[in-house]
């Protein structure tokens, strides 16, 4: 490009800027911009609320799993005695875990739902399987350790499921049914 051509392009650009500034603000542009801004503001605030609520569901689920695993470890490591209270609590905690998991499934990907739901039966087996409820039961250290191991794995999987389900791509795919 020659210096003359460059000078002409520069002048044309300057003229364009001057003419645009003479037009001033278009009220429709202002209204549309404000509406778009407000829409995205509301959307991001709704998404944040939804995400916080899902995170809280996940936290409560993990806490309940931990509570059940701790109680089960105590139960399996204690000498046999009257454990009716612990037994009632453990079966109750299983029901609570099932309920909370159902609630949590609504906010994660279908794949994660499947993985978590496949891990729950193994946890339940560790919590209340074996000689659970038997008056002649003996100390079961393997089951006590297994309850801790499975609860840790499940808690980690729940955290991973949550973080992977809340990427923008995952959200969009879930909303249009292509997750």
């Amino acid at each position: 490009m020659t210096p003359e051509e460059l000078s002409q392009v520069s002048k044309a650009f300057g003229d364009a800027l001057t003419s645009h500034s003479q037009v001033g603000f278009n009220p429709y542009t202002v209204v549309v911009s404000a509406a778009v801004g407000a829409f995205f503001g509301v959307l991001s605030s709704w998404l944040k609320g939804y995400r916080d609520s899902a995170a809280s569901d996940g936290d409560i689920l993990v806490e309940t799993i931990d509570e059940a695993a701790d109680l089960a470890s105590e139960y399996w490591l204690a000498e046999k005695s009257d454990h009716a209270h612990a037994e009632a609590r453990l079966t109750g905690l299983q029901t609570r875990i099932s309920l909370l998991a159902q609630n949590f499934y609504g906010s994660v990907r279908r794949y994660d739902r499947r993985v978590i739901s496949e891990m729950l039966p193994d946890l339940f087996d560790a919590l209340t399987g074996g000689e659970f409820g038997s008056r002649s039961r003996s100390i079961d250290t393997i089951r006590a350790r297994r309850a801790q191991e499975l609860s840790a794995l499940l808690a980690a999987r729940i955290r991973v499921a949550f973080s992977q389900s809340w990427t923008l791509l995952s959200l969009v795919l879930r909303k249009i049914g292509l997750e």
Partner: protein, 127 residues
């Protein structure tokens, strides 16, 4: 000439744990207290399975609406069919027995019951 459609559903013998046994299933053995897995298996499930086998029907066990299960109850009930009562996992899971959980809250128990049937070994073979 008309055709009669006979579905497996029509030939099923249905058992609901909560309605036909207890809303509060107990532990493994009858000696440990009421509503045990052993009691459910021997008093309700085995007679139903034997009748269903004679008539080429299916037994459907519904797990819904109880206050939850101890896994030991499920193992003694369903694993015990193979381990103690001489049924084979193949015939049970091949159509003689269907375990259902219409309420998703009981889905984990259904998976567990089927797993116990698959994993159980007859006492003689288990030694």
């Amino acid at each position: 000439m008309g055709f009669m459609v006979v579905t497996l559903e029509a030939l099923a013998l249905k058992i609901s744990v909560s309605k036909d046994f207890s809303r509060y299933p107990g532990g493994r053995f009858a000696a440990d207290g009421k509503f045990s897995g052993e009691e459910f298996r021997d008093r309700i499930l085995v007679p139903a399975l034997k009748a269903a086998k004679r008539r080429s029907e299916q037994v459907v066990v519904n797990l819904d609406d109880t206050a939850g299960y101890a896994s030991s109850f499920l193992e003694e009930t369903f694993g015990g069919l193979v381990r103690v009562r001489g049924f084979s996992a193949k015939e049970l899971l091949g159509g003689l027995l269907r375990i259902e959980a219409k309420n998703p809250l009981y889905a984990a128990y259904k998976v567990l019951a089927e797993k116990y049937i698959r994993d159980a070994e007859p006492l003689a073979r288990a030694g």
